[in-house]
Structure formats: C-alpha cells, structure tokens
Symmetry: C2
DNA sequence: TAAACTATGTGTATGCCGTACACCTCGCGT
DNA sequence: ACGCGAGGTGTACGGCATACACATAGTTTA
C-alpha cells in the first residue's frame, strides 16, 4: 500500500481525515475535482487547463498545486470519480447475457455523460478502485459460464473495447461540431455531400454501390438521432454477444467437430 | 472539389505539379511528412512538434509553414500517408470471412507500424482518399453477403472499432513504458504485484477468484509476447466474426423462430 | 499574551508549444 | 538590369504546466 504510485495512494486511502485540527478549507480536493469534471463535461477535456480551472473556482493557478501534485494526478482523480460504479450492479441478473448487457449499459451511460473519459490513457486506470470494481462485477456476470478465467477476461476486454469505440465516435463527433462554425445539421449535410462528390465508380465501385444502396439512408423509422445511436449500439453489442454465445455453446458440446 | 476543406484539397489534387519552373526545392512537402511520420513512429506523436520536426530536417520552425498551413493539416497528411492501402487488397478471397480477416490483418499491420494513427480524430479522416479506399475494399469483401448496405457498414465499423481498440492498448502500453524509468519487465511485474495486493476477498470476490484461477497466467505455451498479442487479436476477431456469421445464417433461414 | 509554526494561497519566472507577421535573399522571367 | 515572388528566417505573442520563493493567517505552544 505504501509503494503505490503517488496518485493511486490518495485513491486508496480512507479520505484525508484532517491531520490535526486545521480548519479553513476554502479550496478542497473534491471541489476541485468536481469542478474539473463539470468543465470537461461541458466544454471538453481540452479546455480544462490548470489556470482556467483555478479561475473558475475563484483562485489562482498555483493554488491547485496545494491539492494535486501534477495535472496527471488531477486527471486520475477525475477519472476515478466519474467511473464510480453504480449500486445497480450490486444485484445482478442470473443469466450471463442480460447481466453483461446491464454491465455494458451502465458503462455506456457513464461514458455518455463524460465523453472525455475515453481519452484517458488505459494504463493509467489499471490500479484504480473503480476499475477493479468494474472488473469484479463483469467477472461476476460471467460467473457460471464454462470459460477459463483468462477467456472471461478477454471477453470483458472485448466488450470494453466496443464501449470505448462507441464513446470515441461520439466524442470525436461532438468535438468536431464544437469547432465548426456551421450549425450541426448543415455540417453533417456538407460532409455527406462531399462524400457523394468524391465517391466515383472508377475508384470506389463497391462504395458507390453501397451509397446508392442506402449506406447513408438510415434504417427503419428513425428520426430521433438518439434512437439511431441506440440501434447502432445494440447492433454491435448483439454481434459480439452472439459470438460469445457461440464459444460457450462449443464448450458445452465439444463433440461435434467440423466434418 | 473546390469547396473541400483546406487540408483535404491537397490530398485530392493530382500532386503539386510545380507551378511554373521553380527549382530549388530544398524542403519538400513529402520530405516533411515523411520525417514527421518517422519521428512519430520512433518517439511517439507527442514528441512531434513543429520546432523539433524542423530542427531534425535542418531548418527553422517557421519554414514548415511554407508547406503546411497548420499543424492539423500536417497531421492529416501524415495520416493519409500512413494509411495508404496496400495492393494486396486489389485481389481478394472470394469468401467473405477470409476476405474480412485479410482486411483486418492489413489494417492491423499498419496500426502496428504507426501506433499514433489511433490518436487522430476519426471525423478528421472522413473524406480522405485512403479512408474511402479502405471502406470500398471492406464493402467489396462483403459483396455477396445477404445484409443490407447499412448493416455492412455497421459490420465494418464494428471491426474498425476492434482494430482501433487493439491499437490503443498497444499504444498506451508503449507510451507508459516510455515514461517509466524501470525496465519494461520490471514495471509490468510491479503492476501485477500491485494488483495482487489490492485485490482482496471482501471487496472483489469475483476478481480474486479469477486472479487465482489464472486471469494473469497466460494461456497455452506462450513465451513470445508477440504470440500472445496475436492470440488475443484472433480471439476477439473470431468472436466478432462468429457473431456476424450468426446474423448471416439467420438471414438465410428466417423461418426458424425461437420456440 | 507573545512567539513560533504551518497549512494555504499568491506572484514571478522558465521553457515548451503553435503560429502571426515582417523581413531578407536569392534566381528567374522580363 | 530589374523587379517579382518563392522559400527561408527571426522575433514576438499568448497559452500551457509547473518550480520556487514569498505572504498570510490561524492554531499551538511558551
């Protein structure tokens, strides 16, 4: 516990606990982290600088360094705070598949609320309390399934990748739109038009066929972009879980070899 | 073609073509891009700054701005250059599955060679020649398959997500190790030890069981880390493609409803 | 009550970054 | 011979993270 890297130690200690009798907080670690998370949510992680953050709290840049020894440490704290595991996951569906779907949905909700989470280096999160908890819950969901523990880990990693990818798509889009001067619909229309101009039969035959066949015409009766995003999410999730199901089935009936 | 965003225009124009008879190149766009790619490959994208790049070429910072109007534009050029589609993909396996596997493998090779590609904003790549070509090849691989064009797009996007996720894991790891002062094995051991310390039965029962059950004990007879990474790659890819297979099967035999 | 200590906040300075802008200097076409 | 324009440079600005010396005020101790 004592040789933990600087930032992690704070996360695993049972709160500051006010060393002697020092009063007069003024600033507070949690206030800082909270403000930073809010700022990142609203204006993107890129706009969170030590000086802007301090100013938004009514203090000077350097005051933050009394609470955090480096910006990376602040990011780690923001990360762990945002990834707090909801209590829904204390009680699980019995079946592995609905359980995993729930696990994914909850993570998706978090990533949706804090798109910048996707940006934080994965190795940074390794020893974080929230991360270990998520891992634990995921493994519990797969508790009764006939896979090796290593394979279970692989499955969770695969799902995590999918979730992060979805988050990334959303975050990149959001950020691009933020930088655009045109209104969102117009910008998107512009890109679609551009694609249609560039995709010619000689260079991109298959793509052209797909575009004409409705690659950009959206499925079913959607209007609501939210519904579209949900449908896309479920499409990918279902493919992956079907693949996992296949693996499990094969484990259960190992006799049938391919002819 | 004329209203393309600044950076894209250059990518779609048939090469600079030396306006009149200006000689004395000295610097060259392609030399710059090449050097930037090399630097990013070797020392990470973070170490590519305009001044360091210029210095490595023997020029001053500002000289680069004669060839590129902004650093983002340079990144776009690096991106397109690195993503050039290999000619292997001009000729494809007939079967969709081996074709897609090939498609993925080739992308993986590129991402492996240029880990920083993963960092470039996805929306940035949309209109890029290389990106459209990759899309075209992927759709061709799925040419004979009974899915809607929209679904084909979804499948390709899903696979792309997986590829990017793998690249991201590798890139983050590499970068972390670069920042470490300890040698790689030692650092990795340190993390493993840390995990084992933190994972206690009361807070993480399922995780503890998994750790004891071999979550970190690697599968089969691997020693070579490369072989391990390959195995992980194939595991994920197989799950996803199995899921796609299921969908296709269901399309071919739509009669059988679940009882 | 006075003195010392210390947690908290500030101001200044350094060295990076991207890039705007004014300049300089060639070699070519006139 | 001249001037024009392309290619290269130097300087300067504002923003970034952060090191370090300093100011201040409240508690603890003498």
């Amino acid at each position: 516990m004592d040789e933990l890297p600087e930032g992690l130690r704070r996360l695993w200690s049972p709160e500051g606990s006010a060393r002697q009798g020092q009063p007069r907080p003024g600033l507070t670690l949690s206030r800082i982290v909270e403000a930073a998370v809010g700022m990142a949510d609203e204006q993107g992680l890129g706009s969170v600088s030590m000086s802007r953050l301090a100013r938004s709290l009514g203090y000077t840049t350097m005051s933050l360094y009394r609470y955090v020894s480096t910006k990376d440490e602040l990011l780690l704290l923001m990360h762990d705070s945002a990834w707090r595991v909801p209590t829904v996951l204390d009680d699980f569906p019995e079946q592995w598949r609905p359980a995993l779907v729930l696990w994914c949905r909850e993570q998706r909700t978090i990533l949706h609320r804090h798109p910048w989470l996707e940006r934080i280096r994965i190795t940074e999160r390794v020893g974080t309390p929230s991360q270990l908890t998520w891992m634990d819950r995921g493994l519990r969901a797969l508790g009764g399934v006939p896979l090796t523990e290593y394979e279970k880990g692989q499955v969770l990693l695969l799902l995590n990748g999918f979730l992060f990818w979805q988050a990334r798509l959303a975050a990149d889009l959001q950020e691009s739109l933020r930088e655009e001067e045109r209104p969102p619909e117009e910008a998107i229309m512009g890109v679609a038009d551009m694609i249609k101009t560039l995709v010619t039969a000689d260079r991109f035959p298959a793509l052209l066929r797909a575009v004409e066949g409705g690659l950009f015409a959206l499925p079913q009766d959607w209007q609501d972009p939210q519904a579209g995003a949900d449908a896309d999410f479920l499409f990918g999730l279902d493919r992956i879980l079907d693949g996992v199901q296949d693996l499990i089935d094969r484990r259960l009936a190992p006799a049938a070899l391919p002819d």
